[in-house]
């Protein structure tokens, strides 16, 4: 009653195989282990120049909150103490790969998808440097970036709540 008893076929036959080229065009996500990082490299010096040109208008001259002035975009630099405000890369981001991934897909906000891989490496280096996580002359590439250990990493725990009476 109220049930279609037709057995499902092994395949319905809708859709088509995706080509390797189609996949690589969209396959931009980067994992914490570095899988997905492109070739290329960058450093903070080059990042600093790019930042001033393409990012400072929204994120502020040095990426820090300016007291009394509301930035149109989040602050990107602060100290690395968890309890300090605002929560930024230095004190709240658990993985450096996330920074590369996020900036490449979305920034600059007004021209997303416009940065080259080298530019993203350089901006990542600049922001990690400004947050005192890597040295000023550190070269970022597919090998070195996943090895950067973020101060906040140790703070993250997976939610283990499964309902029930306890308030957690």
């Amino acid at each position: 009653k109220g049930q279609d008893t037709t057995k499902w076929p092994a395949t319905f036959g809708f859709g088509r195989t995706a080509t390797a080229q189609e996949i690589s065009l969209w396959d931009i996500a980067i994992r914490p282990d570095g899988k997905g990082l492109p070739s290329g490299e960058g450093d903070a010096a080059r990042g600093k120049v790019l930042y001033a040109l393409k990012c400072a208008a929204c994120h502020g001259e040095n990426g820090r909150e300016t007291p009394g002035f509301k930035l149109p975009a989040p602050a990107l630099v602060s100290d690395t103490l968890f309890k300090s405000k605002p929560k930024t890369i230095g004190n709240y981001w658990p993985y450096a790969t996330t920074l590369f991934d996020y900036m490449r897909r979305t920034m600059p906000y007004n021209l997303p998808g416009s940065l080259t891989n080298n530019e993203v490496y350089s901006l990542t280096a600049f922001l990690l440097g400004s947050n005192q996580i890597i040295k000023p002359d550190f070269i970022l590439n597919a090998q070195t970036l996943p090895r950067v250990i973020m101060p906040a990493k140790k703070l993250f725990v997976v939610d283990d709540r499964r309902g029930g009476a306890e308030v957690k």
Binding site: T11, Y95, R105, F156, R161, G164
Partner: protein, 386 residues
């Protein structure tokens, strides 16, 4: 209010017949059938937009389906415009056959329909007495969704048994990405229908991921890619966002929305009269069904069971109603949701005790309270926890 005058017999209507805003409707032939209906000129429900989101006017709604044009919005780079003729969904990664599906392909598969709520994990604001339900909790809405079960598509591509996470990626200018663990795959829908018709642009037209009961942001809109993996990708939206301090730690991957409720009537800026009042509101949980809503009319001292509108659906806004005879004195009215796991919506104090004062902005579901003043005015009760 302007009354349009047109009908198939308009040509017979004599000049000089009084027609105006307050003409007698029994003596005024109205406009004939039309291609699309419009709201009464006397009704103006609106979302409340900010730079980042817009909120559903919960206090204006009578039931649980949110009219599509009033569905809350939260997007990270504006509303994408997608040509449905060019749309494709790619599924690849740990699969036997990576595949692309056009929108027409998606619609051909066996389809599925369900009613469920969506809620932004950042829903809940407090701070002042002059707040409406829309201000306090407007980042939730409910629709009847239709699409293809994700499991149907995963069957086509042949997912590896070792796979445990997938990445869902949108095709908006934020290329929104979220990692979804296997426990979320069973109920997941690639939705193309909303309240009978095609998805609205703000809800991800032409197709979105729908994860009933899970935090809004994981329901990736304008979805174009699913990558099957054996670990999460730790995207920005699941690390620097949608996580929150819990004492000395930061909690991540809070997928299920916790049970909550809000009284939508009476609420600010409504006024009430002494006598019988039907207290009304909605309750919902991401963990199944609401089994009970309790209402207090004495500032939380005693609680009684409210009536739930049937059918109570899984992961759905559930209407509750509670009859109360107000004696005209100052008081506070509150509601709390209880879900099928036995979870009771906590107070803000309980949440602070459990998580510390640095609560962050996500997954905050405290009981909220309306103050009733002797003059019948209703004010939100802001609470401070710092």
């Amino acid at each position: 209010a302007i009354i349009p005058v047109s009908s198939s017999f308009a040509k017979y209507i004599q000049a000089g017949v009084p027609v105006g805003p307050i003409s007698d409707p029994t003596k005024t032939v109205g406009p004939g059938p039309s291609v699309l209906g419009k709201r009464s000129p006397f009704e103006h429900p609106v979302r409340k937009p900010s730079d980042l989101s817009s909120r559903t006017p919960l206090q204006d709604l009578y039931s649980t389906i949110t009219p599509s044009d009033l569905h809350f919005e939260r997007h990270h780079a504006g509303v994408a415009t997608i040509d449905p003729g060019k749309y494709e969904l790619l599924i690849h990664g740990m699969v036997s056959r990576p595949m692309k599906f056009t929108l027409a392909d998606l619609k051909k598969f066996p389809s599925f329909t369900r009613i469920c709520f969506l809620e932004c994990a950042g829903n809940f604001r407090t701070g002042k007495e002059e707040m409406t339900p829309q201000d306090v909790l407007g980042l939730t809405s409910q629709s009847e969704w239709t699409g293809v079960m994700l499991s149907t598509l995963l069957r086509e591509v042949g997912v590896s048994e070792k796979a445990s996470w997938l990445l869902a990626e949108g095709s908006d200018a934020s290329l929104m990405t979220r990692s979804i663990p296997r426990k979320g795959w069973d109920e997941a829908i690639i939705a193309y229908g909303q309240n009978g018709e095609a998805l609205r642009p703000e809800q991800g037209y032409p197709a979105r991921l729908l994860l009933p009961g899970w935090e809004g942001n994981t329901n990736v809109k304008w979805i174009r890619r699913i990558e099957i993996s054996d670990q999460p990708f730790m995207t920005r939206e699941e690390t620097s966002r949608y996580t929150y301090p819990v004492k000395d730690k930061i909690r991540m991957f809070s997928f299920e929305m916790d049970a909550r409720s809000i009284i939508t009537y009476p609420s600010f800026p409504q006024k009430v009269d002494r006598g019988w009042i039907e207290i009304r509101g909605i309750a919902w949980t991401g963990r199944g069904k609401i089994v009970k809503v309790e209402v207090s009319t004495d500032a939380g001292k005693t609680w009684s069971s409210a009536k739930l509108q049937e059918p109570v659906l899984d992961k759905a806004h559930t209407l509750f109603r509670y009859l109360w005879q107000w004696n005209g004195e100052n008081t506070e009215i509150l509601s709390r949701a209880i879900d099928e796991t036995g979870y009771i919506q906590p107070t803000l104090r309980q949440l602070v005790d459990a998580r510390g004062t640095d609560l962050g902005g996500y997954h905050l579901n405290p009981v909220t309270s309306w103050q009733i003043r002797t003059d019948g005015s209703v004010l939100f009760k802001p609470e401070n926890w710092k």
